[in-house]
Structures are given as structure tokens and as C-alpha cells.
């Protein structure tokens, strides 16, 4: 069956028309919004295995990620901004993770914590049920290595994510810039 998509004769309501130079007011407002966003990231409580314990340690008194505004850990994806994938993702869990990610409101960010979430880690070879990296399912912003990473390493990842949000760049733009700088 052939379906032809005909372009609409008049612009879709709400379409943003590009303007030359952009507005001074709007772009500085963007920066304020990005700054505010980066300092009130609410993580989703999503721990599947060992890394979840280190995530709890980060939330507890000694490391205390509420110093950066992350303390409002939510159990529902509809109230969360960032999903910290703490632990292995297996084939049975993958659709659940995708669904949780889809349920989160935009803008949403993803941190892959630990070896399992980054690449399958200890369960990369000779396993039949492990997803080899959470980025096969959902796009990941920041990867943290370690098995499990120290709480400080998770804090470092969160600060890295903050930098990214403040810069206002997308994932592809950051990768493009990294390539331009020869990384």
C-alpha cells in the first residue's frame, strides 16, 4: 500500500520560525533555565544490583548528593529527570527500562553507572541473558566505569552531567565537538 505524505499547506500551529541572530533575551533565559535544571535533577530510584548499594551510599550521610540538588529520589518515572542505571540490564528487564525511560518527562538524562550498565562488564562474555550495555536500549549521556564505582565517582558523573546541561548541547553535538577537538 502506498502512502504519500503531502506537506501541509500552512505551517503546523506552534512551529518555531528560525530568525536571524536569535534573541538576546531568549538565549540568556535559556542559560538561566539550564542552570536551574542542572541544580535540581531528580533521580529515579532504579537499582538492579550492586551499584544500587553505592547509589544508596551516595545518598546517605557521608557523601550526600543533596549538596548538588539530587536528593529528591523518586520512585516513579513521571517525576524524575535523570535515570541512574545502577546495575546489570538483562533481556527480560530491557523492555521495562525502555518503558520507564519513555514515561519520564522531557528533558531527561541517563547515567550508566558501573561496568554492567556501560557495556555488560563482568557479564559480557559467555552469558546468554545480559544486554551488552544499556545504550543498546536507551540513549546514555554519561558513562561511569568501575565495578561498582565509588560514591565519589558517581558524584563526579553527576557533576559531569551538570556541565553538559549547562552547556545546552545535545549528545550528538557533544560527540561532534569531541571529535573536532581530536578526542
Amino acid at each position: 500500500m502506498d502512502v504519500k505524505i503531502t506537506p501541509p499547506s500552512e505551517p503546523f500551529p506552534g512551529t518555531v520560525h528560525p530568525t536571524d541572530g536569535g534573541g538576546v533575551l531568549v538565549s540568556s533565559l535559556d542559560e538561566v533555565i539550564n542552570w536551574a535544571r542542572s541544580n535540581s535533577l531528580w533521580p529515579l530510584v532504579f537499582g538492579t544490583s550492586c551499584c544500587a548499594i553505592e547509589m544508596m551510599s551516595t545518598a546517605a550521610a557521608k557523601y550526600d548528593f543533596s549538596r548538588f540538588g539530587f536528593e529528591v529520589a523518586r520512585a516513579t518515572p513521571r517525576q524524575a529527570d535523570v535515570i541512574i542505571i545502577a546495575g546489570t540490564i538483562v533481556n527480560k528487564m530491557a523492555p521495562v527500562l525502555k518503558r520507564l525511560f519513555d514515561q519520564m518527562p522531557d528533558p531527561k538524562y541517563v547515567i550508566a553507572m558501573g561496568a554492567c550498565a556501560t557495556s555488560g562488564g563482568p557479564f559480557f562474555y559467555n552469558t546468554y541473558s545480559v544486554v551488552k550495555g544499556a545504550d543498546h536500549i536507551i540513549p546514555v549521556d554519561v558513562y561511569v566505569a568501575g565495578c561498582p564505582p565509588r560514591p565519589e565517582a558517581l558524584l563526579h558523573a553527576l557533576i559531569t552531567l551538570q556541565e553538559k546541561i549547562k552547556s545546552g548541547l545535545t549528545r550528538d553535538q557533544i560527540r561532534g565537538e569531541m571529535k573536532a577537538h581530536g578526542n
Binding site: V45, F46, G47, T48, S49, C50, A52, I53, E54, M56, S57, A60, A61, K62, A75, P77, G87, T88, V90, K92, M93, P95, V96, L100, P122, F123, Y125, N126, T127, Y128, S129, V130, C147, P148, R150
Partner: protein
């Protein structure tokens, strides 16, 4: 796969708890049938963290497979490693130096305490008391610091190797552990003051999740879950391994059969662990910390089974060897798996709100169940 909220013919409601739920401490999926608010049926759906460790171990050597077990029950990773090392040592008849035995037992008991602390904080948080979580983690961090100094990691150590331990103790270890014993003794009294003595908490926990002694045995419950029902099942006492038979400690048994007695067993076990460490810490013998072993370990043909007591119950490691460098078949009998099977029996007839209070006292670690 996702069974939606539905009503059965007789008007009963089927709801899903999990796999993403804050009170299941991981990715446990429970299908619960409700009649009004009363649970009539509960069915666990596992496998959301099934990482095929048993298949993986079939292609790893006897030195390598130990690290996967730290990721199985990550809260008692030292004890898991101990079980694997013991199996290999008993099969090869390696004598391990006494110093290594002492180090192993001290480390195991520290792990047990850290695990119970985390359980205490997390369970209280599930019931709505937030501050115990922070108190528990404060003490847990001091154990983690001790571990990190000697073992090099905070959670998944890989410190016990066949033949002994990987490094010698750090020079600060003894002093730090002694400091910790004094520190933690006062804190454990605070725990009791904060939560155990609280009447509201007691009323919430008493007379729910009842499992009789016979049922606990039939369901294969072990660890504090079974000892709360009066079953004597502490492997450290009944089939002593390592140097446990030389030590003076009590097996904590409560006869209440309900959630509160399981709670009390764990609280008292922490004191027993302190007692064990106190006996050992002053007289760690000098000498080697690792026995001389061959570079490539080959187990003789046969079957080997070792049982140890983790913080959650009895862990069994069953290795079938064909004489090669890697196991032919390996089976981990994990404590959580059997304890979970009793959950339906405990919850049936109770209100859905009590589910969390009952599940909290089982102290489930889901990767341990799924492996």
C-alpha cells in the same frame, strides 16, 4: 509478559508489584491477587536480573569464577567468596594458614554486620522511618573504610582466593577494628532505642508474616528467616567450617515466628558478630596469609558441596568436576531463593499494606535469587 491490572471472575483484583518498585530492593516482580485489601494469592516472577552466572562459571577457571559470586549476593560478598574458596580447597586438600582463617572469619563477620545494618536501614525506610537509613549508613561507612584499606574495594572485594587471602592485613587494621567495636556497641544500643523499643513499630511488626517451624523447614527457609521461627539452622554451629568451632558465640533463635522475631534475630546477630570479632582481633596469629598453590588449579573428578552461612542464610556451592581447569557444572544454592518461596505462605490472608513489613524482614537480595 506484563499482566495488566485485571479482575478475575470472582471479582478479585490482580495487581503487579515491581519490577521497578522501591520496596522490593531490586527488580522483583510480584503478581498479587487481592480480595478487597486482603492478599489471596502471591506469585513471584523472577529473572529480571538473571545474569546466567552458572553458565558463565562453566567457562572460567577456578581462580576466576570467584569474582562472579561477589556480584551474586553483593551484601555478603566476602562470605560468598569464602564458600567458593572452601570448595576448591576441600577438593584439592589445601591446608590454609591459620592467619588466613582468622582474617577470613573477621572479614566475614564484618560483612555480616554491614549487611544487617543495611537491612535495618532499608527496612525501616520501607516502613516510613527515614532517619534509620542515615544512621545505618553512617556505621556502615566505617566498616567500608576498614574493608577498603585492606581489600581495596568497598563492596565487591574478591579478597579471598583459593589458599588464603589476597594480601596481608593492613597495618592499621587491628586498631581500626577495635575502634569500630567500641563505636558500634554504643550505636547498636541507639538502634534499639530508636526503633526496636518503639511501640508503634512493634505493633506494626508483631503477628504478621507468621510461618511455623514445620513450614519454615518445608519451605527450605534458612538464616534469620528460619531462626525467627525456632529452627536451629546456623551452619556455623551445626556444620562448623573454618575456625567457627573454636569460637564462643550463640546461635540466636526466637520463637515468635512473626516479622518482629525475625527482626530481633538480626539485631541480636549483630551483637554476636561483635562478640566473635572481639575474641579474634587480639590474637591473630603471625605467619603466612596464603598457602602455596599451583598456578593452574585442577579439581579431581567428582562432586563437591560446601555450605556456609551468609547474612541471609545457607549458601551452598555444588561443583561437579570432570578433572579440568573449569567446573563442568556449578550450582549456587542461594538462601534468598528458598526464603522467597515462603513469602506467599507468609503474606496470604494479610492486608496488602503488610506486604512491605513482611518482605522487609526476609531481607531479599534479588541478584542472589536470580543469579
Amino acid at each position: 509478559m506484563f499482566e495488566q491490572v485485571s479482575t478475575s471472575e470472582n471479582g478479585e483484583l490482580v495487581i503487579n508489584v515491581g519490577p521497578q518498585h522501591p520496596a522490593t530492593h531490586g527488580v522483583l516482580h510480584l503478581l498479587i491477587t487481592l480480595n478487597g485489601e486482603t492478599v489471596t494469592k502471591l506469585e513471584p516472577n523472577l529473572g529480571y536480573i538473571h545474569r546466567s552466572i552458572e553458565k558463565m562459571c562453566e567457562s572460567l577457571s577456578y581462580r576466576q569464577f570467584i569474582y562472579t559470586t561477589s556480584r551474586m549476593d553483593y551484601l555478603s560478598s566476602h562470605i560468598n567468596n569464602h564458600a567458593c574458596a572452601l570448595t576448591v580447597e576441600s577438593a584439592l586438600q589445601i591446608e590454609i594458614p591459620e592467619r588466613a582463617e582468622y582474617i577470613r572469619v573477621i572479614m566475614s563477620e564484618l560483612t555480616r554486620m554491614a549487611s544487617h545494618q543495611l537491612w535495618w536501614g532499608a527496612m525501616a525506610m520501607d516502613l516510613g522511618a527515614l532517619s534509620p537509613f542515615f544512621y545505618a549508613f553512617r556505621e556502615r561507612e566505617s566498616i567500608n573504610d576498614i574493608m577498603e584499606e585492606t581489600c581495596g574495594a568497598r563492596l565487591t572485594m574478591n579478597y579471598f582466593v583459593p589458599g588464603g587471602v589476597m594480601y596481608d592485613l593492613h597495618p592499621n587494621f587491628v586498631a581500626k577494628v577495635k575502634e569500630f567495636i567500641v563505636f558500634f556497641k554504643s550505636k547498636i544500643d541507639e538502634y534499639d532505642e530508636l526503633l526496636t523499643g518503639n511501640i508503634i513499630f512493634q505493633n506494626r511488626m508483631k503477628n504478621i508474616g507468621i510461618i511455623s517451624k514445620e513450614d519454615a523447614i518445608s519451605y527450605g527457609c534458612t538464616g534469620p528467616t528460619a531462626r525467627g521461627s525456632g529452627v536451629s539452622c546456623d551452619i556455623r554451629k551445626i556444620y562448623p567450617y573454618s575456625i567457627y568451632q573454636k569460637l564462643d558465640f550463640d546461635e540466636v533463635i526466637e520463637h515468635g515466628c512473626d516479622s518482629f522475631s525475625r527482626y530481633q534475630v538480626r539485631m541480636k546477630e549483630m551483637r554476636q558478630s561483635l562478640k566473635i570479632i572481639e575474641q579474634l582481633i587480639d590474637n591473630i596469629p603471625k605467619g603466612e596469609f596464603q598457602a602455596k598453590t599451583k598456578a593452574v588449579l585442577k579439581l579431581p573428578k567428582g562432586e563437591f558441596y560446601t555450605r556456609v552461612e551468609t547474612a541471609r542464610g545457607e549458601l551452598g556451592v555444588y561443583i561437579v568436576s570432570e578433572g579440568g581447569t573449569s567446573p563442568y557444572r556449578i550450582k549456587f544454592r542461594s538462601p534468598g531463593f528458598s526464603n522467597l518461596s515462603a513469602l506467599e505462605h507468609m503474606v496470604k490472608g494479610h492486608k496488602i499494606g503488610d506486604l512491605v513489613a513482611i518482605m522487609g524482614t526476609l531481607d531479599l537480595v534479588i541478584p542472589d535469587i536470580d543469579r
